[in-house]
Symmetry: D2
Subunit: 297 residues, 4 copies
């Protein structure tokens, strides 16, 4: 299949590589020449603009940092909509707000194209291994159409409903994640301050009603889970500033939907404090530092 | 074994029955004559006071609503310490604050006795079925001593560490639980307001990083989990006022330990609002009503 | 002076009337023909577009609901920048986010014009009476230039600093206001629940360190302040949805500035809950209903 | 008048001195011998116990750190109730929870005495100058009876209502204070981050609807108010740990009264974080440090 791939960052580059490995022909674009060069070395063609990349494409995939980038790449003079053929589908795997997805889908529709939101979870590790989860928003028909291609990059391709529900799913999951991580942090910090061993407390929570991914897989207290970022100084993993971005998307979407998000808005302030104090690059589980008097954050 | 059992409420009565079934001789006390009568009908002896119940006992077990009751039953003129023989152990399965446990253990110690905290999880269903989890705070030696008896009432008997760490474990687990339930509530309410199907959203969270007991076993959105209280009008289950009690113990313990508990304190206000508005008897997952404009709470 | 006035809503219309009274020549525009007609009846000329209104103007004033409207009125094909003469100043009295102000000022500057933010406080009452406070962001020179005109509409014309600081001042003041009103609400509700007379409690707070406008002028407990909206069923005053808009501007600005706003974000959820439950049109002091079991909200 | 005065700490000692100056005969007690010595040097008699101090007294005044101390001093074997004559009134100026006041009043009543709560505001400065505010809970009759004596120590003697309403008034005022200070902190930090001058912002808030004591008298941003602790490194003033104590009393009282206190509970966590990080002795306005990246707290 001839695929245009726009956006070759930490996530996009390994995703594009997996498409090449699966035998697809790729026409790639990125502002970073070095990123383009790596993909060309692996067999892709370099395009001079999103428009040029899209001209012959049978499918267009975008993977960009924020809605403003998607808008520019889509609607600019040298953008996708200026080059793409009628009836070709655009799959956007960026994590952006649902309202923007609806606006972009409308623009694509007016151009004779379908815009599908398909944000991912699984991080750079999942992108490299081809084990991402894709949360797809669009009709059942277009879901069936894009699923085989997405399967080259991920192992779970979930149909979430109509346009923008892929973003809704991702945002709501990460809202829960941001809250549970801060919640587990305060419970672990409290328990240890009250004299219980952190591994014992983790073990009890993990087999009881407090059980959650933030405790049993990614526990923020150092040493409780050997493979968690907390055990290696909060390096690697999912950065505080990325969690902050996703909680920002959640609270913005809540504002538009006129829904209260008490704990989400509060958790956002906790991660914001970490970022303000200079810890934005640490794994988001470092939020436990706010609860402990261990000399930093 | 001759056991004194004080406190035959919704939890204590079925626990005592399981001890009888296991062949223990029970001397029971409760202010509620009818509760005592039921146990006597099942083979227990009725005592006229905690003191009388404890006089011949080889083990004393208490299961009471709050620390004030434990204090009265323990230290009153007709209390346990006035009757119990030296070296007999007292197991308190009430859920109370760790500071009170330490005070009671000190009093017991001065009397020549050991006081073990062993709060439970599993609810009235687990109490009836004998499948409770006991979180035991005390020395390794006393844990080994009481474990065989507790096994007649529960299936997981966990040693949490020294005196009071059983309560610490329970309080910290329920702190996480109270937070995750409110967090899942706001994410489910937000997602549905943004147009995603609640079962689809629940399914994604349950296989992703937002995964938690409050979502995959007890999801607050009606219809997502067939067996959850939300699907039967928030009846049965774990009442809002009970969650409020446990979050109160957590925030009180945090105050004494000088630990911040941002999300726990906020979750407490949400459950308090439910209770203030008259919904204290509903299952605690009814907190989702605060987020939805469905005509009540 | 020949002034173009764009936006004749609840605030804009009385402001424009005061300019007419002061002897200025007004060229007005609004999408609402009836609003235009009222101003024409008072002596203004009707323009067919913002561009037409601005063509001969010596000063342009805009008073619009949100940044999107300001953008459209400024940059549209029939917008202000398409008609305005070089060196003419644009005063925007809308309440919008500081980042948009900076963007609009840049666009105006490229067009040879100065864009001044001058949001107001004082409500529709102050607009009618000509007693508004204007918070002006711009150079000292442009502040001196626009001050005489603004004096026809307000009694305090405050220079806040460079471009956008007028909005910053307004947003930060209303952030404090939204917090203090909710704070006074919970203290009044708590005090009354604990048995103190609301007037006595209000009196003590108003002469002590809790003293604030939300207590001494606008107390949310009915009957404490005779002239407050709380004493007339929370009608009139400053609507919950307007407070919600301003807290949204504050938390959005905080997100961009990477600043935590713990209490502001929480207060936003409280007003959001009021709005979600159908009370968005009530005065914002009705937030006290969340704290009381009086049968509504 | 013969007065027993129990508790000669930072507040009690200057209050007792003012009673001596007013011509009363004082019989004082404190565990700290040096504090007693200072009062004796000023003309007081030293008693060997609260009981001894109270035996001949026509009025008993207590000024102690917490409810536990009041209980001990009142009900101990060598306590006030063991020595006091029938019909003599006890005035407690400690800041404690309303529920304890009611319990103490009941005990006093059984002993033939009246217990009046009369907590103060005004700090050590007001205690020395005799300008304290007394918030008095008790009958109108007993208020009239104690007012002349309290006037020797304070300038505002406010009758708040029945027993315990003095504490309710103080707690509710300080609840508002703790919230407004944190709210002003986040607004000032946000405004400055957005580019406005702190003095300009303070000036606008102080003449607008955000006006409050925490901004116009005690602004937490250094340099805005010359006489505020913020301008002298957050020294002097009202310590963070004292604010934490009062917010703890407020949230505890709210728990008993089954009232939500969203902002109060959150503000408590902010001051707790300050204390946990080692800043408990700084003035409570130092909470602004949580919002700024200035290298500490």
């Amino acid at each position: 299949m001839k695929i245009a791939f726009i956006g070759l960052g930490n996530m996009g580059a390994p995703m594009a590589l997996n498409l090449l490995k699966a035998g697809h022909a790729l026409n790639v674009f990125d502002l970073n020449a070095q990123a383009v060069q790596s993909l060309v070395a692996a067999g892709a063609s370099a395009a001079t603009s999103p428009k040029a990349a899209s001209t012959d494409a049978e499918l267009v995939i975008t993977m960009l940092p924020a809605a403003a980038h998607v808008k520019a790449v889509l609607t600019g003079e040298e953008g996708i909509l200026a080059g793409i053929a009628k009836n070709v589908t655009i799959v956007d795997s960026s994590t952006i707000d649902p309202a923007s997805v609806k606006a972009f889908a409308e623009l694509a529709n007016q151009n004779g194209n379908t815009f599908v939101d398909a944000p991912v979870s699984g991080g750079t590790g999942g992108a490299a291994a081809g084990t991402l989860t894709f949360m797809v928003g669009g009709s059942a028909q277009v879901y069936e159409q894009v699923k085989p291609v997405l399967t080259s990059m991920g192992k779970n391709i979930v149909h979430c409903g109509d346009t923008s529900t892929g973003q809704v799913a991702k945002i709501c999951n990460n809202l829960v994640l941001g809250i549970t991580m801060a919640g587990v942090s305060e419970a672990m910090a409290l328990g240890v301050a009250l004299g219980i061993d952190p591994k014992v407390l983790g073990g009890i929570i993990n087999t009881s009603t407090g059980r959650c991914w933030s405790s049993d897989t990614y526990n923020p207290f150092p040493g409780v889970i050997e493979t968690a970022p907390s055990t290696r100084g909060y390096t690697g993993g999912f950065g505080t500033d990325l969690m902050l971005k996703d909680l920002g998307l959640a609270t913005d979407a809540a504002k538009l939907a006129r829904q209260p998000v008490y704990l989400g808005a509060l958790a956002q302030q906790l991660y914001q404090t970490m970022s303000t104090k200079g810890a934005g690059k640490l794994d988001f589980s470092a939020v436990i530092k706010l609860y402990r008097n261990d000399g930093d954050a």
